[in-house]
């Protein structure tokens, strides 16, 4: 019964349609030939009318027997004798359900959207059929971005790619990945994608990466030590070169990775690992006086008194002057003269001369100063940046195609500070589009944010949205057209701002707990696929993309750089 020809895949069964389980435009059923092994996410092909071929994706399987009820099996074991051996085993067959991916035809000008007939031979789809079923063949070579490898039960491996216009804009943009820590390999996947994009579109793309875990992403220019033959094989399939990210060298005009490490104790970098070439970033008030709202996000402010002070400072920063002398309460010494400008964090902490219409009660100003002191105590906030320290916002505005900014925030323990850094980068990018000549701006800027739930958490209906979330949300909303693309990751999609998730064209799910999958943000997955998502292996991902009719399962090789942990 089995057979294999050059043009067609191995026969695995025959379609079946019954009164209760008819074939439809969306799905069809087939029984599996005994002895054949198939699995969910295998691609199958069935000959259809007018010489067309329907490509299906196995979504679920069930084994059926002719037992009308469990009682029939009980009776068949001689009324419950567990030791009884069937003289004739029951007829049983595995019935698979396949979701229709596409109906393909070489010549037919019209679309055939009719259900597949019963009793038709079902085969494993061959590589070209899989690609055609996913609509990949229509994507021009220069727009192809590999996203991984489809692996089928018969050993077939096919490179899957997407149209860059649907990942990097303008047709669709942004990617979000979620899944259990460790098993879902979220960061690795994002970095794999970034590497493939970088290798193909280096002269158009700039990348900003926030490193949130140890020194995970501080070795992008170093040779990896854990590449397996399996990875090597997949590099060949997806056509990714085994090249680390180049290190930026302005003298040799090499554009590549620039590591930005947060300023720590005594001006030393506060990082788990200090790359040889790096920049230390810090914040002076003069850098971020117009970003104070980002620093104060989440502070309860029911009467907007705090907001009034922040807005006042942001608007009048350059005109802020001490009206009276400020003396040290302990020594009585004058520490700020009347008329002196408010230029540093310390100045701002001492400044009290807010107009009556901004601060009606003195305690409001006290509270503001207290919070400011609390929020800016870390070594990251400096009264004056040294010449070796940079302001990230300024650097971001200068980013060029081919550059990869790795901004380390892993050692910054205060989530408020982390969010401030991310928010500042986002706002600086926003400003860049208004300030720089558009031809100088890289046509695509990809921003990788891991642990998105920390910076853009889902909020309740009556909660106020934080400025950082708003900033990320804004990019999710408008970045598609101007080329600012978010690659975000988190454990649970349900814990992240809904708009950011909904605006992500490509959704990726690694292994995820079943309770999390009950959240309606996972509506794009069929119920059967959700079941599978609970038991995905490490390195396996489910990908939903607007150009694919159904979510598919892929594997991917480790990104090519030294990975830690």
């Amino acid at each position: 019964m089995s057979g294999e020809t050059k043009e067609k895949g191995e026969i695995i069964g025959k379609t079946t349609a019954t009164e209760r389980f008819p074939n439809t435009v969306e799905e069809f059923y087939f029984w599996v030939e005994p002895g054949k092994v198939i699995n969910p996410f295998d691609f199958v092909s069935v000959e259809h009318i007018k010489g067309t071929t329907t490509i299906g994706l196995v979504s679920s399987m069930k084994l059926i027997t002719d037992a009308k009820s469990q009682l029939a099996d009980f009776v068949s074991s001689e009324f419950g004798k567990v030791e009884s051996v069937p003289q004739t085993p029951r007829i049983e067959t595995t019935v698979a359900k396949a979701k229709v991916m596409s109906n393909i035809s070489a010549e037919l000008p019209i679309k055939v959207l009719m259900p597949v007939s019963a009793n038709k031979i079902v085969r494993f789809a061959i590589k070209d059929e899989i690609r055609a079923g996913l609509g990949l063949l229509a994507i021009p070579e220069e727009k192809r971005i590999p996203i991984g490898v489809i692996e089928m039960s018969n050993g077939t491996q096919v490179s899957v790619f997407v149209d860059s216009e649907y990942l990097l804009g303008p047709q669709g943009a942004h990617l979000n990945i979620s899944g259990i820590t460790g098993l879902a390999t979220k960061t690795s996947y994002l970095m794999f994608l970034i590497q493939t994009i970088y290798q193909r579109k280096k002269d158009q793309v700039a990348i900003i990466i926030f490193n949130v875990k140890q020194d995970d992403l501080l070795h992008l220019d170093e040779e990896p030590t854990d590449i397996t033959p399996d990875d090597e094989e997949m590099y060949k399939i997806v056509a990714v070169s085994k090249e680390t990210f180049p290190l930026s060298d302005p003298q040799k005009e090499i554009r590549g990775v620039k590591y930005f490490l947060p300023r720590g104790f005594r001006g030393q970098p506060n990082s788990a690992y200090i790359p040889r070439e790096h920049y230390v970033y810090a914040y002076a008030l003069s850098d971020v006086h117009n970003r104070l709202d980002l620093l104060f996000h989440g502070v309860p402010d029911p009467y907007l008194t705090m907001r009034g002070i922040i807005d006042y400072i942001m608007e009048r920063y350059s005109q802020l002057r001490f009206r009276r002398d400020v003396t040290d309460p302990n020594t009585g010494r004058v520490i700020r003269r009347a008329g002196a400008p408010v230029a540093t964090w310390e100045d701002l902490r001492l400044f009290e001369d807010y107009p009556r219409e901004v601060v009606r009660y003195e305690r409001t100003a006290w509270r503001f100063r207290g919070l400011l002191r609390q929020f800016t105590t870390s070594d990251l906030f400096v009264n004056q940046r040294s010449h070796t320290e940079v302001y990230l916002g300024e650097e971001v505005k200068k980013i060029k195609a081919g550059e990869i900014y790795v901004i380390d925030i892993a050692r910054i323990t205060d989530e408020r500070e982390q969010a401030f850094i991310i928010g500042d980068v986002m706002r600086s990018l926003d400003e860049m589009y208004g300030e720089r000549e558009s031809k100088e701006i890289p046509s695509k800027i990809i921003i990788l944010i891991d642990e998105l739930n920390r910076y853009a958490p889902r909020i309740g209906a009556f909660e106020e949205i934080s400025p950082v979330t708003e900033q990320i949300r804004e990019i999710a909303r408008t970045g598609r057209s101007r080329g600012t693309i978010l690659f975000t990751a988190e454990q649970f999609k349900s814990s992240v701002d809904r708009q950011i998730i909904e605006n992500s064209a490509m959704q990726v799910v690694g292994r995820t707990g079943s309770s999390e999958l009950t959240s309606d943000v996972y509506r794009f997955l069929d119920p059967e696929i959700k079941d599978i998502a609970t038991r995905l292996e490490k390195g396996e991902l489910i990908v939903s993309h607007p150009t694919f009719r159904r979510a598919i399962k892929i594997r991917f090789p480790k990104p090519y750089y030294k990975r830690i942990g």
Binding site: D66, S76, S77, Q87, T88, R90
Partner: protein
């Protein structure tokens, strides 16, 4: 088994109907569609009742106890020890009432019958398969005896049949009853269909056994045709049987079937019997060499009455006193039947006396019947 060419069947059917219309008036079923006929309830028992018009039976195995003429069988004979039954045969019939046909001398129902028989083979691992020659299907148009039809119609029908002789696929066959008179032609024509079904079973059994003599063949129901007895290692297995027989034991004690079976326990069989032959019995040649006995497959509180869970087994036994060798075979057959209790076709009707491979053969046949919608289309 080649695929059925439904278009070809329709063409053949059309040719016959046109021929019929030329010689008489065909009045379509008032429902305007062919109605599937219901076969008589418990056909198996009816046929057995027919056989036992003469009720007396005598034992051909000497019982140890006249009060309890039973043999304890011990452990079931599983296929792991000896794979006894290999082939399982069943036949089925569907008849359709298409309308009334009126010719000058007679009017009778115009009926079609779809007949199918399957003989499944049980592989070493217990799974069932259909041998290449294990399925037979026929489509018949049922007519009264040829003598009742106009000669011109006869000649034309024969002409159509002859033309189809060389066609190897499924063809429509006109079939005629034996009887020349009937008060109820509908029943008579249906009976002809049943008879053709048994004939198909016979042909199938013969064809399968010619190719393989491995193991034993189980035929669903009683052995009705002499030709079955010419085959080696065949039993007829009836899950429904007549309650008419009266058993005379050693010419001393007489038991009716209820009394005989009520005390038969699970894992036991009755002694072997033969039916007394009435003078002029047309089936005497069959009855003369047909031994039968009953085996209780199941008992217990799940059964509704003591006659449930019992099968009747028929086998060719020429002598009127079973010899030890025959008794050994009967015991082996009975023990192998006990093993057939697993798995069970529960909760189908008579599941308690039904064996699974025969059930599967029935299902196989059902799945190969043409749809009733197809028959509706034949007259359209």
């Amino acid at each position: 088994m080649s695929a059925v060419d439904v278009k070809e069947i329709k063409n053949q059917f059309k040719a016959i109907v046109e021929c019929v219309k030329k010689h008489g008036m065909l009045i379509k079923n008032p429902l305007l569609e062919p109605a599937e006929e219901e076969l008589p309830i418990d056909l198996e028992k009816r046929e057995d009742d027919e056989k036992f018009r003469k009720r007396e039976c005598f034992n051909i195995e000497i019982p140890e106890n006249l009060e309890k003429p039973y043999v304890s069988l011990g452990e079931p004979l599983h296929r792991g020890q000896k794979h006894f039954f290999r082939f399982f045969l069943d036949g089925s019939l569907k008849t359709y009432y298409l309308g009334e046909y009126v010719i000058p001398a007679l009017s009778f129902p115009f009926m079609a019958g779809e007949i199918a028989a399957a003989c499944l083979f049980r592989n070493d691992d217990g799974t069932l398969s259909v041998p290449s020659n294990g399925f037979k299907k026929r489509i018949c148009l049922l007519f009264p005896n040829k003598s009742l039809l106009p000669d011109s119609l006869q000649i034309e029908l024969e002409g159509i049949t002859k033309k189809l002789e060389s066609y190897s696929g499924l063809k429509v066959e006109p079939q005629h009853t034996e009887e020349t008179e009937s008060k109820d032609w509908r029943s008579s024509l249906r009976a002809k269909g049943i008879s053709e079904m048994h004939e198909t079973e016979v042909q199938l059994a013969k064809s399968v056994r010619e190719k393989s003599t491995e193991g034993w063949l189980v035929i669903d129901g009683a052995i009705r045709k002499k030709i079955f007895l010419d085959l080696e290692n065949v039993i007829g297995l009836a899950k429904s049987f007549s309650r008419l027989p009266i058993f005379e034991l050693e010419k001393r004690t007489t038991l009716d079937i209820v009394k005989l079976l009520a005390r038969l326990r699970e894992g036991e069989r009755t002694i072997i019997f033969k039916q007394s032959i009435a003078e002029g019995d047309a089936e005497s040649s069959v009855k003369k060499v047909l031994g039968f006995w009953y085996v209780r497959l199941r008992s217990g509180e799940w059964l509704e009455n003591p006659l449930q869970g019992v099968v009747k087994v028929e086998m060719k036994i020429e002598k009127d006193l079973a010899d030890p060798k025959t008794i050994d075979i009967v015991n082996e057959v009975s023990k192998a039947l006990l093993a057939e209790r697993t798995v069970s076709p529960y909760p189908t009707p008579r599941w308690h006396a039904h064996i699974y491979p025969i059930y599967v053969a029935e299902e196989y046949i059902k799945s190969n019947f043409l749809s009733q919608y197809y028959f509706r289309g034949l007259l359209a």
